[in-house]
Each structure stands twice: as C-alpha cells, then as structure tokens.
Amino acid sequence: MSEEQHIGIPGYLAVFAFLFIATIVTYVVALQDLDGMFFPGTNTLVALAIAFVKMTAVVLFFMHVRWQSRLIWLAVVSGFFWMAIMFAYTMQDYLTRSVIGF
C-alpha cells in the first residue's frame, strides 16, 4: 500500500482537464448534425463514445483501477458485461419482432 498507487496532483488535474474538455466537446458536438454528415446514428455513437472514454478515465485514475489486482478488473468488466447481456438479449427480441412474421 505504501507504494504510490495514484497519479499525483498533476495527474489528477490532467484527468480533470480532460474530463472538462470532453464535457464541452460532447455538448458542442451534440448540436451538429453528424447524422446528416455521415450516417444515421452518428450523433448517438459519438456521444456514447465520449461518455465511455470519460468513464474509462474516471475508472482508471480517479478510482485507481489502473493499479488494482486482476480481480478488481474482473469485477468492473463483469459488471458491464452483464449489463451488455441484458441489453443484447432484450434487444434481440425487440429488433427481430418483424423479422419472422411477428
């Protein structure tokens, strides 16, 4: 425990600056019509991608997972994996309602 398991004050400030900028970016980008520029759903994709990157920064540095054991990594990943299971298997019903005559 005595070894430094954090990134120090400059590191924390850097992560904060990144989160701050990302928040501004996500707001600005949301007002642009990326769907029209690229393909439908780009806006959603970009917003979620930014949120995901922000989350990763918080998890790794503010929550110190970067220095944690494999077990903690497993707990984090399995939490999200199970949520993904819930999304995927629920949506496989909703998105296929019209596929086979239903």
Binding site: S78, G79, I85, M86, Y89, T96, F102
Partner: protein
C-alpha cells in the same frame, strides 16, 4: 444436563468448552451478535417460520383442489392464496434457505476463517430480511395480493385491487438482504481463506455458494429496479408497462425474468453444493470430477443469465428470440447433467451408507433428474406451446424447487445438525421422515405432470370433473408430504433436549468443519488451521485419524 452444569466453566479448559451457543445468553447477545453462526441460527428460525406459513397456503390450495368446484375458496381468494404461497416460498424460503442458513454457518468454517468478511453487514442482511418479511406478511394478512408471484403487468399496475405495492416493497427490501449475503460470501471466499486453502482445495459447497453469490450480486438488483418501476407506475398510473399509453408489458417480463430465472439457480446451486458434500461423505470416497463440478457451478451461474426468455415463449416475444432462448436452455442442461454424472460416479464403488442425509441426497438425484428432464420439454419451443400455463409447469418447477432445493436443504440440515447443535437427532425418525417426504412428494406432483399434459390449466380454483381422480392423489400426497415436513421439526427440536452428544466428528469425515468442536467456538477454531490436504481426501494424506475420531465420537452411524 451435564451441558448445563458446564456452562460457566469458562476459558475452554474443561471438557465443555465455551462454544458459540454458550457464549452469552442474553437476548441482546443474539440480536446484536456479529457471529455468523448465531446469525445463521436466527435465519434458521425465521426461514422455518416462513416455510410453514407458505406450507399453510399450500395446504389451502390442495384442499380447494380436492373437488372440481370452487367451494372452499372463491376464485378471488384462491388467487390470493396461490400468490401468497408463491411469494413466501420463493422470496422468503427458497432463496435464503440454504445460503443464509447453511452457507452462513459453514462457509467461514469450511475455509478456515474466523468469521465472514463483513459481520455487521451480515447482521444487517438478517434485519433487512426481517423487515421485508414483516412488511410482506402484513400486506398478505391485510388482504393479500392476487397477481401471482410474478406481478405481471399491466394487471398488477392498472387493474389489481390488492396490495401489490406493499408486497412488492417487501420483496424489494428483501432483495437487498440477498445482495448483501452474496457480497459477503464473495469477499469472504476471496480474502479470508486459511493458509494452504487454495481454490481447488475448497469444498464444492463453497464453490456452489460462490456461484450463487455471483447470481445474487448481478441479478437481484435488476428485480429490485423492476419492482420499483412497477410500484412507481402503479402509484402514478402512468409509465412504461401500460400498453394503453404506449408502454410495453413484455419489457416487464424481460426485466423480471432477467433476475427471476437466475433466481432459480440461486435456489438450486447451493443445494447442489450440499449434495456434493453428502455424496462424497456418505460414499466415503473422494468426489468424482472435482473440477468439473466446481466449474459447472460457475457455468450454470453464467449460462443461467442467458435463458430467461424461455418463460416468455408465448408472451409475444419474437420467434427468433424464442429460438435463441430455447437453444440456450438446452445448453444450460449440460452443466447440470455433468453434476449428475459426477455424483453417481462418486457413489460407484464407494462405501455407501444410508443415513438420513444420504437418503435425502439420493432422493434429490431422482427428483432433480425428473425435474431437469421435464425442463427440456418446456425448453423446446414447439412442445411448450401445448404445456404453457398447465399443471405440467407446476409439476416441473416443484420437482426442481422442492425435489431439488428442499431435499438438499433438509439433507444439509440433518448432516450438519450435530455440528450446529452438538446433538444427534433420532436416526429412526430421520429415516422415516425422509421416506415420507420422498413418497409424499412424488404422490403430490407426479399426477400433476399427467394433469398438465391433459390440459389442466394452472391458477384456477375450479376444474373439469375428469381431472378429479388425479387431483385427489395429489392432495393425498400433499398430506403425506406435510407430515414428512413437520416430523423433522419435532425430532430435531427434541434432539436439543434429549439427543445424544454428537462429538466433534460424528460422521468421521476429513472436512475442515469436522475438525473443530461441536458446536464450534465463537471464532470457529482454537487456532487458525493450516490446510495441507486436498478436499475430500479420506486416506492418510488428510491427516485424519479415523480411529481416534471414532473413539471420540459418542455415536458412530457407520458402525
């Protein structure tokens, strides 16, 4: 009487050491205890109370179904009775039964720990269970709920005139008891193992509880949020489950079964853990295929999350999703079958003794086999259309839940009773009751397979006359089953008063829990054990002197 004399001898010097039961007698020393064993005993009493309340509901159901007409209970009351039976049995008996009683008591002892990692959270989870239970009982007595234990929308949100929110809230609260227990088990298994207790030296009971805890942690919050949504929707009369407002009742079913199917594995996995212990112990043989049983528990926990849609085959879910869920349901049968093969292989060429716990365990094998195989009927998307909402389903899940969980639970209670209380129960009455349970159970539920196949729908107070004969069989069986369930209460309690002293190791077994005194001291072991042997090793390497153990034990059931 000698026990009473020696209570105050104190520091573990005399023959009668201070154990967890004699370490303080005040009510406060129980209600504010942090000792996992005392908490387990309090769970044992509370869960038994709920079991008998659920049993009263069950007998009402069976009495009503004795005659084709709806004469004892009118339909509305009947709805409330079967809902009460389901809610009490599922949420307040089956889910906490083995983890909260046997798991709580044994998991720390089996891994050589002083206590669970978070004793206060453990006590908190008991209190949450009490609050949730009291809340639910109050609502059930005030007028009950008539939605079925599944609370399907939009009936539960819009139309039902019963205490849906109160009962739902009770279930919601109770969920956190389950979550906290699971959390405690996971952390304890990871960090509290004694020196030398590697993962592959853990008893399979611990593996099973670890898998159960995973399901508790990852599943229970979903049902909590689902019931919360249901309560908010019922309160505001707008929301996301009412099709009249553009909502979707199927979403409720998805969310509900995302937990409630894995919840079936919360019920059965700990029971499988008990059976693994019993099979090895009473065959006096190393368990066959340790790794397979261990990993099949984890596999069941994981795959159990992928099959919930098989409850929704005829609910309006897409056919494509039905196919996927049907296939995965077949897949989840594989790890269960692996366990069955390994248990029977353990008995093969073992020195099998038919003590009461083993009778329950063998009963489990038969009943779980029938329950599991009929599960395949219901998991196949074509046949299930015929069988949905008939007594076939009722029979199937009672074979798994009662034949699986309750038999494992009773077997475990008998097996560890000498460890928990230091007393031996009457072997004669134990065998009688195990037989009664097995016979009564089959007589109750096997006719229901036939009834269901012939098309008798579930959840009705009245039925056509041609179904009466089989229903009389079923009610007769339920009476036998009832006697078989009441008997253990009598002779187990009697054993506390006049039971023989059990000794530390009455079954002459190498497991860690049998190497501490009976009942165990407050911190489980006099000194932290160091494990140098593999699990279930009966030979020299276990360091167990069978002759010495036999001399020290006052009863020798294998003799």
């Amino acid at each position: 009487m000698e026990n009473v004399d020696s209570i105050n001898t104190g520091e573990g010097q005399g023959e009668e050491k201070v154990n967890y039961l004699t370490n303080g007698f005040s009510i406060k020393s129980w209600l504010l205890t942090k000792d996992h064993k005392r908490i387990a005993i309090m769970y044992l009493i509370s869960v038994s109370v709920f079991f008998f309340i659920g049993g009263i509901y069950a007998s009402l159901i069976r009495l009503e179904l004795l005659t084709p007409a709806s004469d004892l209970l009118e339909s509305g009351t009947y709805n409330k009775v079967f809902t009460g039976h389901g809610v009490i049995m599922v949420f307040f008996f089956l889910i906490p039964a083995i983890p909260a009683i046997l798991g709580n008591f044994l998991l720390p002892i089996m891994i050589g720990a002083k206590d669970l990692a978070f004793p206060r959270i453990n006590l908190l989870s008991l209190y949450i269970y009490w609050v949730g239970g009291a809340f639910t009982m109050y609502a059930l007595l005030q007028g009950g709920v008539d939605t079925g234990w599944t609370f399907y929308t939009p009936y539960s949100t819009t139309f039902s005139n019963s205490y849906v929110m109160a009962v739902g809230l009770g279930v919601f609260i109770n969920g956190f008891s389950s979550i906290l227990t699971g959390l405690n088990f996971i952390v304890t298994t990871h960090t509290m193992r004694a020196p030398g207790m590697t993962w592959f030296r853990l008893p399979l009971f611990v593996w099973a509880h670890y898998a159960t805890s995973l399901v508790m942690i990852l599943g229970t919050p979903v049902v909590a949020i689902t019931i919360l949504l249901l309560a908010v929707e019922r309160f505001t009369q707008t929301g996301i489950f009412d099709p009249a407002l553009g909502g979707d009742p199927i979403l409720f079913q998805h969310l509900f079964w995302f937990y409630s199917h894995p919840a079936v594995y919360i019920m059965i996995l700990p029971s499988m853990g008990v059976i693994s212990e019993l099979m090895s112990s009473f065959s006096r043989k190393k368990i066959f295929g340790y790794e397979f049983i261990a990993f099949s528990s984890i596999a069941i926990a994981v795959f159990g999350f992928l099959v919930w849609g098989h409850h929704m085959f005829v609910s309006g879910q897409s056919i494509y999703a039905g196919l996927v869920f049907s296939f995965l349901t077949m897949v989840v049968a594989v790890p269960s079958a692996i366990k069955m093969f390994n248990w029977t292989a353990t008995m093969y060429k073992g020195s099998v003794s038919y003590d009461t716990p083993m009778l329950y365990a063998i009963g489990f094998l038969g009943l779980f086999l029938v329950g599991g195989l009929t599960g395949l009927f219901l998991g196949s998307i074509g046949l299930t259309v015929h069988l949905t909402d008939t007594y076939f389903i009722v029979a199937h899940f009672h074979y798994v839940m009662v034949g699986g969980t309750v038999l494992g639970y009773l077997g475990g209670i008998h097996y560890w009773w000498p460890k928990m209380t230091g007393r031996m129960y009457s072997e004669f009455w134990g065998k009688i009751s195990a037989m009664l349970v097995f016979i009564g159970f089959n007589l109750t539920f096997f006719p229901q397979f036939i009834l269901g196949y012939q098309g008798m729908p579930r959840r009705y107070a009245a039925y056509p006359e041609e179904f009466q004969v089989l229903n009389i069989f079923s009610t007769a069986g339920a009476s036998v089953l009832g006697i078989g369930m009441v008997l253990p209460v009598i002779y187990l309690v009697a054993s506390l008063i006049n039971g023989k002293k059990a000794g530390d190791n009455p079954w002459l077994l190498p497991g860690l829990e049998w190497r501490t005194s009976s009942p165990p001291p407050t911190f489980n072991f006099e000194e932290t054990p160091v494990i140098t042997w593999e699990a279930y090793s009966f030979g020299e390497e276990s360091g167990l002197d069978i002759d010495k153990a036999r001399r020290e034990s006052r009863v020798s059931p294998t003799a």
